[in-house]
Symmetry: C2
Subunit: 350 residues, 2 copies
């Protein structure tokens, strides 16, 4: 019997399989990307692992990005899967310092999905594309038998015109000690809106997803200041994962003041109720911007003048201490290391 048990255990270990955590945007995702995709597809563009690929066609610099959306439920307070797909792709291009221009949209739909729901999704995509001033120029539709996918999945890819001067903003190579970190508003809204919709809690909580196209906000910042050092949209894995990525292997550390992080009271309440740390919860309309300290208040004001930046705050500093690590200074005077999301917190959040 003992021999059999050992045999079964060794079989389980041998069958290496994809787990939910591989799609979390956190540690396991990063390992899968590095150990498999970057290893095989190996090329200098991919190895940079920027939000968008930064490319050249003859003398034209472009940014290119893709994302699949599998959010459950498809409709939620503040948006639907179509909103996410357009906003997510627009934001990936915008944080690379590119002007988003063209979007492709590919649909995988479960047989029996209602046409009027598809129409509502397509209508949302149209409105978001118009708001972001991008064109949806090509697409594809595949239908699979009932039970072979869950309602609808959408993959959007985007092309943007890249300003070569903004390339260091993707890589963060110009970040210096003393720079400051700005976020354009409250965190964890999207994740808790999805969670609320799933559990039926949103009926009493009124939490809305923050899904929004941020390209105009970002353009206003870039065209009015030369002191932006880094930008990244804060999505799966939450603010913690982005902060952990920025400092990993670097010569600097980051201090974050917990009391400065904008957080809606009801989102905080739901996080406490359900045992989530808002630092790890997904957003869909948030960007983290690192700027020269001298310009930080000017940039904060530019952001606050945009409708998607009214609750923006300076939340922390680039410091010379604890190099390679981001530290959260808590409201009660403690400190803790901010790590990447390990495993999966909320599957199918986007």
């Amino acid at each position: 019997m003992k021999g059999l048990a050992l045999h079964i255990i060794s079989i389980i270990i041998m069958i290496k399989a994809i787990l939910l955590g591989h799609g979390s945007g956190g540690k396991m995702s990063h390992n899968l990307i590095t150990d498999l995709f970057v290893k095989y597809f190996s090329n200098p563009v991919l190895q940079k692992q920027t939000d968008s690929a930064l490319l050249k066609i003859d003398n034209q610099d472009i940014a290119f990005t893709t994302d699949s959306y599998v959010v459950d439920p498809v409709f939620f307070p503040g948006g639907n899967i179509g909103d996410l797909a357009i906003c997510g792709t627009v934001n990936d291009l915008a944080v690379s310092g590119a002007k988003p221009l063209y979007i492709s949209a590919s649909f995988i739909i479960e047989e029996g999905f209602k046409l009027d729901e598809l129409e509502e999704i397509v209508n949302s995509m149209t409105e978001r594309a118009r708001e972001a001033n991008v064109l949806i120029v090509t697409g594809d539709t595949k239908v699979v038998n009932k039970g072979k996918c869950d309602k609808i999945f959408i993959t959007t890819s985007g092309i943007g015109k890249l300003n070569k001067n903004y390339v260091p903003i993707s890589t963060g190579k110009n970040i210096k000690i003393g720079d400051q970190l700005i976020i354009n508003g409250t965190i964890a809204d999207h994740g808790m809106a999805i969670m609320g919709a799933r559990e039926g809690i949103n009926l009493i909580s009124d939490i809305q997803s923050d899904s929004a196209p941020l390209n105009h906000l970002i353009q206003e910042v870039l065209s009015n200041s030369n002191s932006v050092k880094f930008m990244r949209d804060v999505t799966r894995g939450g603010l913690a994962t982005v902060l952990s990525e920025i400092t990993k292997g670097k010569f600097f550390g980051i201090d974050i003041q917990e009391e400065k992080i904008p957080l809606n009271e009801n989102v905080n309440g739901m996080c406490e109720l359900l045992g989530f740390d808002p630092m790890f919860v997904a957003n869909e309309g948030k960007v983290l911007i690192i700027v020269n300290k001298e310009d930080s208040n000017k940039i904060l004001n530019i952001i606050r003048n945009n409708k998607y930046g009214k609750q923006a705050e300076i939340i922390g500093d680039v410091v010379s201490e604890h190099t390679g690590k981001s530290i959260l200074k808590t409201q009660i005077g403690g400190s803790r290391i901010i790590d990447m999301l390990a495993g999966e917190q909320l599957p199918r959040i986007c």
Copy 2:
């Protein structure tokens, strides 16, 4: 009871839903694209409904395309889902007269999918990308709970450098009476390879998918001749659907000689056995090229010199009769109108 029955029927009619035929690449797909996507996303680029979107960034002309792959089974004789994804996107760009350069790859994976199978797929993608001389530069991975998708879906998008001189090749606006049609080899191999793999027939039939990147073959044709009028890769919906699309609403007709269409004997046998018309069965490495008659033999020889064109044939002519229709001249001396695929023949063929 009669009232109840009528009530139920009216409810069924009211709930308009997505059917498998909406993803077939045939009539229902076309109606969905026109009635929903083109209507909402309305813009001049999309309205052209070319294989790739033909775009401009400043003075640079580019082609942009996307496709989702949901093929079942994931592995089949002659390839796997990764092969299809790279070849399909490369071919969509190439038939637009563009040089494929950059590919994005987005994965939706079912929890529990084996890592070594994923590695085999990624390895195939790498090999195909190398063969086609394109770079896979960006990507995304989402994981859904077991049972919420079927193993793995891949969406690839591609960007190519567009030669403006080749734009009429996408639209076919230069097609003239007397032009001839060439196909680069046997039809229906991919569809029957998938069907065989599903039904376990391939163990005795040895039918292989024709999945292949055709960009080099196409480039050889374009760089050695100015007389290419039209190109289209022949995929879902088969040769019949492409032929029907070309003539629809046009001032010319097309005559196709059935006995000239290359068809493997065992593929023909399986089609007869299972009741499929090979004209409607999917291909993944076939291109239909319309050329000036004076150059047709020269171009045929160029194609036959490429490893993916050895069985190429001139299969028909552009004629002044039966305008707006393609007619198949059968081997027994009959004629029949070639129509678009209606409904769905083989779901999840690509």
